[in-house]
């Protein structure tokens, strides 16, 4: 990522204007904010451009923020093919990361139009883009693997009708010997609870090329996670045998710790996420129904200020808001 070069910075040389000085006037953006722009998903980038004129200038004229386009909540369902094209054109054909997270309205053609104009894309993340078809994805990946072989990482979890043959074709395009070597070096365990907390576009931190594989149990194309459970790790290291290496539908995993959960051990949180009994014990619980809430959905807890006790939304609605039999 070019960082220092974006706004005529030169390390160890001094600019005539205001490098290093405190803010010139109260209320004008600090230089640091210009640097932050390149890390913002599209929604926050647009918000920044409305804040004041100098930020808008930075957003409009600098190409750096547009080299990594990340569209997620709340823009994911507002992004149409046309808007995507308009946004992507700001990258001057040098788009590096295209992350469309759950952008259900994007079609194969809409995606391909962007791909055709930006052959240097390194990372293509389209999980949950249910408007895409497997062949559409293959067409995009093929284009990006043609001359420059730029595409290094891909996320396609959640695209409907992905089958083994499609995945094999994608492997063919993406898994050259070179990429395989590069990836083996940096691979980190892919743990369910970490993945759920991570922002989807930080996929490169896990060191893998494609997010999905064939589940050994059900043979569907799914995400398969590593297990932090000691015994599972030991089995894998000693015997190369991994019992729980299956997709989320074949083996449940705890939302808090990522460990595989046996049926007799399985608890359910207020948010309907799965918990193992160890994590269940540690989490605070609703005062009425005694169900816990996982860390991610803490906004489902309703409590009075200052109190650590809480009630879940379901119990709250059922018992505390003007239902017929409850006195106010």
């Amino acid at each position: 990522m070019e960082i220092a070069q974006s706004r005529e910075h030169a390390p160890l040389s001094h600019r005539e204007d205001n490098s290093g000085q405190e803010e010139a006037e109260a209320g004008s953006p600090h230089e640091a904010l210009f640097l932050v722009l390149a890390y913002l998903p599209l929604f926050e980038l647009l918000a920044m451009s409305e804040v004041c004129m100098s930020l808008r200038d930075a957003v409009e004229k600098d190409v750096l923020p547009w080299l990594n386009i990340i569209v997620e909540r709340p823009l994911n369902l507002r992004l149409s093919d046309e808007i995507l094209m308009k946004v992507a054109s700001k990258a001057n054909d040098r788009l590096r990361t295209l992350a469309l997270i759950n952008c259900a309205w994007i079609s194969d053609d809409g995606l391909q139009r962007v791909i055709d104009k930006n052959p240097l894309i390194n990372e293509l993340y389209v999980p949950g883009c249910t408007g895409l078809t497997p062949n559409g994805v293959i067409r995009a990946v093929q284009k990006l693997s043609e001359h420059h072989h730029s595409l290094k990482r891909l996320q396609i979890n959640g695209i409907y009708n992905m089958k083994k043959e499609h995945l094999e074709t994608l492997h063919y395009y993406m898994l050259t010997n070179q990429t395989k070597q590069q990836v083996q070096k940096k691979q980190r365990p892919l743990l369910y609870h970490n993945f759920r907390k991570f922002q989807a576009y930080r996929w490169d931190e896990f060191g893998r090329i494609i997010d999905v594989e064939i589940c050994p149990r059900c043979n569907e194309v799914r995400m398969v996670f590593d297990c932090p459970r000691e015994e599972c790790r030991r089995k894998r290291e000693q015997y190369s045998l991994i019992d729980c290496r299956m997709c989320k539908f074949c083996i449940p995993r705890c939302e808090e710790c990522g460990r595989c959960v046996k049926p007799e051990d399985l608890e359910v949180a207020v948010c309907t996420d799965t918990l193992c009994s160890d994590c269940w014990v540690q989490l605070s619980k609703c005062n009425f129904c005694n169900k816990p809430c996982c860390g991610q959905h803490a906004d489902l807890q309703i409590s009075s200020s200052g109190s650590t006790e809480w009630i879940c939304g379901v119990c709250h609605d059922q018992f505390l808001t003007g239902s017929d039999d409850v006195e106010q």
Binding site: I3, G20, H30, L35, A38, L40
Partner: protein
């Protein structure tokens, strides 16, 4: 990088407010700016390096960060190390207010420490995640210098993105 004799080599850095910091060479080499400088001027290693764009407060925080991350990297990669790194980064950022974060970003940019710069920028980005324009203004203490007409024009342009957005929690 060859080490001189048995002792670890120290590099002296002088900050904008005239404090001198002695750091181990390994840490100074985390600052790509300094590394490049030494690569091009190998005889300069005894000199004190001036850092007119970095305050002592920033530099000491940055040195702490690089020290810790070097230590993490020296250990074998595992998911528990990853957790520790993540926790460390979260703690590093959590207590600092926006002003210090912005200062650190500029310092990290000047010294060209990619990992730290990424982490800090990401942290600031997370602080304004999903927030409204007004919130961002207040958060950074920025003034709206648009005329009402300009503002209306821009809002119309981005209308597709902001219509029906939920109000902020605060």
């Amino acid at each position: 990088m060859s080490m001189a004799a048995v002792e670890t080599k120290k590099i002296t850095l002088r900050t904008a407010d005239n404090h001198e910091f002695e750091v181990e060479e390994a840490i100074a080499m985390e600052f790509s700016t300094i590394k490049t400088f030494f690569d091009e001027n190998p005889d300069a290693s005894e000199d004190t390096i001036p850092l007119p764009n970095v305050t002592s407060k920033c530099l000491s925080a940055i040195i702490e960060y690089c020290k810790s991350h070097l230590a993490f990297r020296a250990r074998e990669t595992s998911s528990s190390i990853d957790e520790q790194v993540r926790t460390y980064d979260e703690e590093f950022v959590k207590a600092r207010d926006n002003e210090s974060l912005k200062e650190l970003i500029l310092a990290a940019n000047y010294l060209n420490i990619k990992a730290l710069l990424d982490m800090l920028n990401q942290a600031v980005a997370d602080r304004i995640k999903n927030k409204s324009v007004e919130y961002v203004r207040r958060f950074f203490g920025l003034e709206n210098d648009y005329t009402p007409e300009e503002e209306a024009a821009i809002r119309a342009e981005n209308e597709w993105a902001f219509e029906g957005v939920d109000p902020d929690d605060d």
